[in-house]
Subunit: 110 residues, 2 copies
Amino acid sequence: MDKSDALTAFAALSQPTRLDVFRLLITRGDAGMAAGEIARALEVRQNTLSANLSVLLTAGLVRNRREGRAIRYFANTDGVKGLLGFLLQDCCGGQPELCQPLIRDLTGSC
Amino acid sequence: MDKSDALTAFAALSQPTRLDVFRLLITRGDAGMAAGEIARALEVRQNTLSANLSVLLTAGLVRNRREGRAIRYFANTDGVKGLLGFLLQDCCGGQPELCQPLIRDLTGSC
DNA sequence: GATATAATTCAATAGTTCATGAAGTATGGA
DNA sequence: TCCATACTTCATGAACTATTGAATTATATC
């Protein structure tokens, strides 16, 4: 994960449909969701969603796998790890104890 | 932190100078850095930096405080917490154990 | 008050991103 | 082979974003 990857990932997440898609896939975990299902769930046209999924793919935030006619998409947790690690690198002025509350709050999401 | 706040924050981080500024401030912790110091460190013009700092402020990713003629900027860890909490809400298909590695890797940044 | 320093605001222009309709590709079944 | 389903790609115009020079505001010092 370098700066250019991080920029691509943040740009990917700064668009309403893509943020919705990513958050939807995050809640799905390993089950993932087919492109068409996502389009129906979020009420987005197929070609618009396809363009947005390809942005998320390029950004490394989602993965996909063909299943017959459908293509199933998954949140890519490795991509998220890399992104957040890059963003918070060397944080808190070298005083790790300042970071602990930040990290602890995140665990509340799960 | 709602969806619109999150979009604003991700958009703020998807621009090279702003990502540099935020990461620089993250490494500074409570020491922060004056606008002029940041401009010199990153070799950005004062008005360009000012515009970018105001985007980061609006996004809740940095705070500032006037100190005489200078204005000192700080990374806003509460803003980051809110953002990441929103992004990862209800993650991993309701199986918290899948999230633990993600969270554990993040702690490595500190 | 006058001047210098630190930073912000403004208006204009150049560049980027987005959703869309239309067309194309891949897979599965009749 | 033909058709339907699932999804992607492409070109275009409309909307948004970034940087810049010039002007402005705020604070400190002389």
